[in-house]
């Protein structure tokens, strides 16, 4: 079945450094979604990418969808302590959403 793989599993950065998490699917996706989960919280929807090669920005966050629609990335510029949490990508499966294992980001002030 379709799998969504995400790397790295953990990332620790100094505040002000950049951060990137990568997502790869075993199959072509119609779209990809990104979610953020703060420590002790629940996943919250961030954004959806639909078009091949699409790039979207939310302030310091840049999301990309690959040309083949099988991979995606989330890049955070100049991380802040408010960015800590786990970032998940997710792609549609058969009547469900398949989530990557997530990248847990910690930021040292």
């Amino acid at each position: 079945g379709q799998q969504v793989m995400q790397i790295p599993q953990y990332q620790h950065v100094q505040e002000g450094e950049d951060f990137t998490t990568y997502c790869n699917s075993s199959t072509t996706l119609s779209n990809i979604q990104w979610y953020k989960q703060r420590p002790g919280g629940h996943p919250v929807f961030l954004i959806q990418l639909v078009k091949s090669g699409e790039v979207k920005k939310q302030k310091r966050l840049t999301f990309q969808f690959g040309e083949a629609k099988k991979n995606s990335s989330l890049h955070i510029t100049a991380t802040q302590t408010t960015d800590v949490g786990t970032y998940f990508c997710a792609g549609p499966g058969n009547n469900d959403m398949r989530f990557g294992a997530g990248t847990r980001l910690t930021v040292k002030p």
Binding site: Q33, Q48, V50, D96, M97, F99, A101
Partner: protein, 114 residues
């Protein structure tokens, strides 16, 4: 945040006992989901519902059953809890279950099976 509540929020139980977790929504969304979250595995789908009395299995459904008698409520039952079912359980909802539909998550239930 979407109107989703889960109860209980925390539960400790013993192996072999039955456990029921409840998810309640006030959004009138058609689809409801139960996920479990474990370190290194992300969110894995247990069961989902696409309407009242309409449910289907997810990726990790063994040992779990669900019921949906009303649009707003989705129950997850562990008939005989095992230690491997210790996890954080999230309920989620979506409007129509389509490929581009967004999922909204409840606050989660932390279940410990001793």
């Amino acid at each position: 945040d979407a109107g989703i509540t889960q109860s209980p929020r925390h539960k400790v139980t013993e192996t072999g006992t039955p456990v029921t977790l409840r998810c309640h929504q006030t959004e009138n969304h058609r689809y409801m989901y139960w996920y479990r979250q474990d370190p290194g595995h992300g969110l894995r789908l247990i069961h989902y519902s696409y309407g009242v009395k309409d449910t289907d299995k997810g990726e990790v459904s063994d040992g779990y059953s669900v019921s949906r008698s009303k649009t707003e409520d989705f129950l997850l039952t562990l008939e005989s809890a095992t230690s491997s079912q210790t996890s954080v359980y999230f309920c989620a909802i979506s409007e129509d279950g389509g490929d581009t539909d967004t999922q909204y998550f409840g606050p989660g239930t932390r279940l410990t099976v001793l």
